[in-house]
């Protein structure tokens, strides 16, 4: 920003700045994000995210509910990747109570969270393309996502807010023919991915709109505590699934795609490649899924004592849950790490110096879910 100011001074002109309130009602702020922007014509001098419009006191509610009653609320933090949010909460509780989860339940959780990653990335792909003006890609992405949600619906009973994982396992076993259904879906999905690449990835307009836009260097990303695709697009090879394996991730070899420039294009490519990796992981999981129970032994009287920290790689980044117990059957304190909240703080770095259109592309590329930012 400094260089912009000096250039104006050098020229001896002082153009009046325009203060624009982008949102909370704006077509592409993904919910109720308000961005306070200072513009010089079209050029963004400063973009500050104002959050809190969707605050629902999730952490406080979690202290006042029985542990099993918290699970539906975790769904509602990041409603586009509900399974991964449930997972991090039940993992924290299981860690604290030292509950053994049966292998079949582990595998179901594993498959579900990878399918969830595909569903979430699909939605992101659609909205990102739409932010850039390619409306049709949005509908194509939703077409595939709907079929995936049909699978989720058949397994869990709901399309978005599943309430499926339980402390010690999962609520119910998958339906008969689950493997075949998912495999058929994956085969179709791989064909569709090619369609997306034809429609969006290779498109010259898309390339010039995203390459070199919204750059976050690796140092900045680390300094701000970014995680997930935003961090990896900057060239840092860090993935909780590799760094701190949970479920059965340590059994399988998969690639962690990274970018180099940390621009919108790299973030896009990283996510698209992650979907391909997820397809592979789901296939592995389906092949190795053992038979058996889906619920482990959970003590009738729950006594939470001590504290624990559980973290996982959600589609958006590192979601973590810090849980403190005071000997009762409810959480004394629950703290939630939300990756989107962190990434949103990078918005000013990404947007300043660019144009309004770049600001939109930057917001789209960090894949924010306001439900998770505000909790």
């Amino acid at each position: 920003m400094a260089e912009i100011a000096t250039r104006d001074e050098q020229l001896g002109v002082r153009s009046e700045e325009l203060f624009v309130n982008m949102g909370p009602q704006h077509p592409s702020t993904h919910g109720v994000l308000r961005v306070l922007t200072r513009l010089d014509g079209e050029k963004v001098l400063e973009a500050e995210a104002d959050i809190g419009y969707l605050h629902r006191c999730f952490e406080k509610i979690a202290e006042k509910r029985k542990l099993f009653q918290v699970i539906p609320y975790t769904d509602r933090t990041d409603y586009l990747a509900a399974i991964t949010n449930e997972l991090v909460f039940v993992m924290a509780v299981e860690k604290l109570l030292e509950i053994e989860v049966p292998p079949r339940a582990q595998y179901i959780r594993f498959i579900m969270s990878e399918l969830q990653r595909i569903a979430s990335h699909l939605l992101w792909f659609g909205t990102f393309a739409m932010d850039l003006g390619a409306t049709t890609a949005f509908l194509y992405a939703w077409r595939e996502r709907e079929r995936l949600l049909d699978i989720f619906e058949a397994v869990t009973g709901a399309r978005m807010l599943y309430n499926y994982l339980r402390i010690g396992g999962v609520r119910n076993d998958v339906f008969d023919g689950f493997e075949a259904t998912v495999e058929k879906y994956l085969r179709d999905f791989e064909k569709r991915l090619k369609e997306y690449h034809d429609l969006v990835t290779g498109n010259r307009i898309f390339e010039v709109r995203t390459q070199g836009v919204g750059v976050v260097t690796a140092e900045e990303a680390i300094a701000y505590g970014a995680s997930g695709p935003v961090l990896r697009a900057s060239g840092v090879k860090y993935d909780v699934r590799k760094a701190d394996p949970y479920l059965v991730y340590d059994k399988y070899d998969f690639e962690v795609p990274t970018g180099q420039n940390g621009d919108c294009y790299d973030r896009y490519i990283v996510r698209m490649k992650e979907m391909e990796e997820s397809v592979k992981l789901v296939r592995h999981g389906l092949a190795d899924m053992p038979a058996g129970d889906v619920m482990g032994k959970v003590p009738r009287r729950i006594k939470l004592e001590g504290d624990t920290y559980a973290r996982i790689e959600s589609p958006r980044g590192e979601v973590a849950c810090y849980l403190v117990g005071d000997g009762s059957d409810q959480a004394y304190r629950l703290s939630w790490r939300s990756p989107c909240f962190v990434h949103l703080q990078l918005l000013n770095i990404m947007a300043r110096g660019g144009l309004v259109a770049d600001l939109i592309a930057s917001i789209g590329s960090i894949d924010i879910v306001m439900g998770e930012v505000d909790r």
């Binding site: 077509p27 513009l39 003006g133 390619a134 307009i205 709109r209 309004v356 259109a357 939109i360």
Partner: protein
Amino acid sequence: MDFFSAMHSGLVSAGWPLWLANLVPPLVKALILLLFILLNCTFLIWMERKVAGHMQRRMGPMRLGPHGIIQTIADVVKLIAKEDVIPAGVDRWVFVLAPIVAFAPAFAVFMVIPFGPNLIAQDLNIALIFIAALTSFVVISFLMAGWSSNNKWSLLGAMRASAQLISYEVPLVISVASVALLAGSLSLQDIVRAQSQSFWYILVQPIGFLVFLTASLAELNRSPFDMSEAEQELVAGYNTEYSGMRWAIFYLTEYANLITFAAMASTLFFGGWSGPGLPPFVWFMIKVYFFIFLVMWIRWTLPRVRIDQLMDIGWKGLLPLSLVNLAFTGIYVLLR
């Protein structure tokens, strides 16, 4: 135009004053053209929604009439019934005038479009210049709408519209000039006749057509160049504050301009109304609808470019291409 001169002389002999009789034929023509625009726009809005729907594997409007064909009429009824909102703080007169200023030139352009060998309201000998002048007029209405709305999004949209104007207008006119050079006339009717006697100019003007198509998309404010009303960026750009019938007139203008573009493209490069077998008017409409479909197809496929990139495309891409094209056309005409 025998019918209209007959009408004129009939009126004069019936004892009408001359000035009044002079006024009647143009008014009737204008009424017919208005009817043509309204009918086609009604259909086009439905078509756009259908094309978009099916490209996105949806059905589009389905509920009113067979395949939702009268959906647009229902929409218009709804828009008319809406409250006429003039927001507080707007520049009232400019705000009210802007849609009219937008529609008037879009309507006037139809005067010189040849629908058939004799089917033209006024065969102007400077038709091309007339069209180039009037179609760029629309930017004034955008500026009026954006400025008077007293809304920052509208203002940004208006600024974009006026900033992008010169970057596409120059190559557009130059690419059209090559066609005029080939035909040796600025009259659209002459250009069509020249093509029907020789060949469609697309054969020798592929680059010219490409430049014309790209620049026209920018002029139409259509995706991928719809920066001035970019929904995802500027909410709705210059017409953010408009609602009801005023907004509908902007919408109507957009589609009227679309028809103008399609008519121009088919007239300048694809032989206009000329064609074997079918009546000229049918040929004309087939070509027009093909180009309208092409524009819709592009709109629902490509992402939007950025404003500075449009200037890039305009100045560094289209302008040199159109100039080279003009030079080669000149050599071709010289050697012919």
